[in-house]
């Protein structure tokens, strides 16, 4: 098994009030490890040296929960397209590489510690309207409304968002529009979600603005880095929904 010697430069910050800095660590890895397992090895050795391990978030390690988040050599979730950090494997790095690891950076994602940031702004945006107002027990039969296969499939494409925040981290403007538009699209495409679509788009955009995210310049870095391949088509759809809702309907946000 090929062993590789790597140099890691990792952002260390003990808390929100600490200024933070990049610190350098050597680590030995091999090509079968996942990126996070490589960090586990580092942490294990830090603990054995009675030092504070690097705080980073992770959970499912299957690329679906959206918990893991770090910027690896300037790219959220690292160099491989369509891949979360936990699904990134060390065979994509070479012996002798230097890897710079930083937290997702945005004013709306304050650092809690090291690579851990607070992404509750996303929750608050969903709370503003990212749902269908249906109580348990109210639903009609699931097959009562046929939905075109293609439409359902597009709704799924948007719904595949894992809420990791890579779009914000990648965007030069720290805009959250890909995340917000994915939810708006997912629900606006389906007949079940259309009922409240007008109100939803106004409320969610409003909350997004309040959270201090930047504004989209259509750079499409979000789409390029999104581990789930969410398309910027959704942003166009959100714009459309927003314009027709604010200017073309009587609904007040």
């Amino acid at each position: 098994m090929q062993t590789m010697k790597l140099t890691l430069k990792i952002w260390r910050q003990s808390g929100p009030n600490d200024k933070g800095r990049l610190e350098t660590y050597p680590v030995e890895a091999n090509e079968h490890m996942s990126f996070l397992e490589m960090l586990d090895v580092l942490n294990e050795s830090l603990i054995n040296d009675r030092k504070t391990p690097v705080a980073f978030e992770h959970d499912c390690r299957e690329g679906i929960c959206g918990t893991c988040n770090m910027v690896i050599n300037g790219q959220p979730h690292g160099p491989m397209g369509g891949t979360t950090t936990c699904q990134l494997h060390m065979r994509h790095f070479k012996d002798g590489d230097t890897i710079v690891i930083e937290p997702f950076r945005a004013r709306a994602f304050p650092v809690i510690r090291d690579l851990v940031v607070d992404r509750e702004a996303f929750d608050r945006i969903i709370q503003a309207g990212g749902y269908v107002s249906v109580n348990a027990g109210q639903a009609q039969d699931a097959n009562a409304i046929p939905i075109e296969k293609e439409t359902a499939s597009r709704a799924f494409d948007a719904a595949a968002c894992i809420g990791c925040g890579a779009c914000v981290a990648a965007c030069p403007n720290a805009s959250a529009m890909l995340f917000v538009s994915a939810k708006i699209s997912h629900l606006a495409l389906l007949p079940q979600g259309k009922v409240e679509a007008k109100k939803r788009v106004q409320a969610m955009v409003n909350q997004m603005d309040l959270e201090g995210f930047g504004m989209c310049s259509n750079v499409t870095a979000c789409e390029a880095e999104c581990p789930k391949g969410i398309s910027v088509e959704n942003i166009a759809r959100m714009n459309r929904e927003y314009l027709s809702s604010t200017l073309g309907s009587e609904v007040q946000g």
Binding site: R105, S175, G214, M215, N218, V219, T220, A224, T246
Partner: protein, 232 residues
């Protein structure tokens, strides 16, 4: 009108303003280019000066031109506000290493629209001072064409384009405008929500052609005149 001001100051409202004013300026560039191409006639500026006279005296055009001034200012001011807000949203701590990739545009142009715009704005100020302001202030000589008196803008233009420094400045500015358009053209459609799996590829192609051809033709004029007057 609370809902309306809310709309205008929302992120999408601000983007909409950028998009609409941008699209207007894109259209204006064509009109402007058609006029400028008159400079290529070897008629000592007759067609060009008459065109300039028409543009400054025909009432509907005059009305539109006030709109144009307003849109330039709005596009610039709004762009500047967006730029500031976006820098603020990024937060004080930047990335030590940052790679910006893009899927549907030029990442470098797209993430530097503020800088490109600033350069274009500086260009505009100089450009307007050199030609438009001279014309407006009546500082130009008049020439008679079939009994019609027209300000002789041509001579000023010709003099400017004999200066190597200005020619370089104009050509470089056109390259900058080209980059600005490369991203801006298709981006304005995306902002308006005009994204369609069948038609967007076409819009993108038109945008790319537009952002190369129009600035190239603009840049051609000073080069042509420079070399022509230099006798090359």
């Amino acid at each position: 009108m609370n809902w309306f001001t809310n709309f205008l100051t929302s992120s999408i409202g601000r983007k909409l303003i950028m998009s609409l004013t941008g699209l207007f300026l894109i259209l204006f560039l064509v009109v402007h280019l058609i006029g400028n191409l008159q400079l290529l006639y070897s008629d000592e500026g007759e067609k060009f000066n008459l065109y300039a006279l028409f543009m400054t005296t025909f009432t509907p055009i005059k009305i539109i031109s006030y709109g144009l001034y307003a849109f330039i200012v709005i596009h610039a001011v709004q762009g500047w506000i967006l730029w500031r807000k976006n820098v603020a949203a990024r937060g004080p701590q930047g990335y030590a290493v940052k790679v910006t990739r893009a899927t549907g545009t030029n990442a470098r142009a797209a993430s530097n629209m503020g800088w490109l715009g600033t350069i274009i704005f500086v260009f505009l100020v100089i450009h307007l001072y050199q030609f438009w302001l001279q014309m407006k202030m009546g500082a130009l000589e008049s020439k008679m064409y079939d009994g019609v008196a027209a300000a002789d803008l041509y001579t000023v233009v010709k003099a400017t384009y004999m200066n190597t420094g200005f020619v370089v400045f104009y050509v470089v500015s056109m390259v900058v405008i080209g980059f600005h358009l490369w991203h801006g053209f298709q981006s304005s459609f995306q902002t308006l929500g005009l994204n369609h799996r069948k038609y967007t590829p076409l819009i993108k192609i038109i945008g790319k052609v537009y952002s190369v051809v129009i600035p190239a033709l603009f840049a051609l004029i000073p080069l042509y005149m420079y070399f022509k007057n230099a006798g090359l």
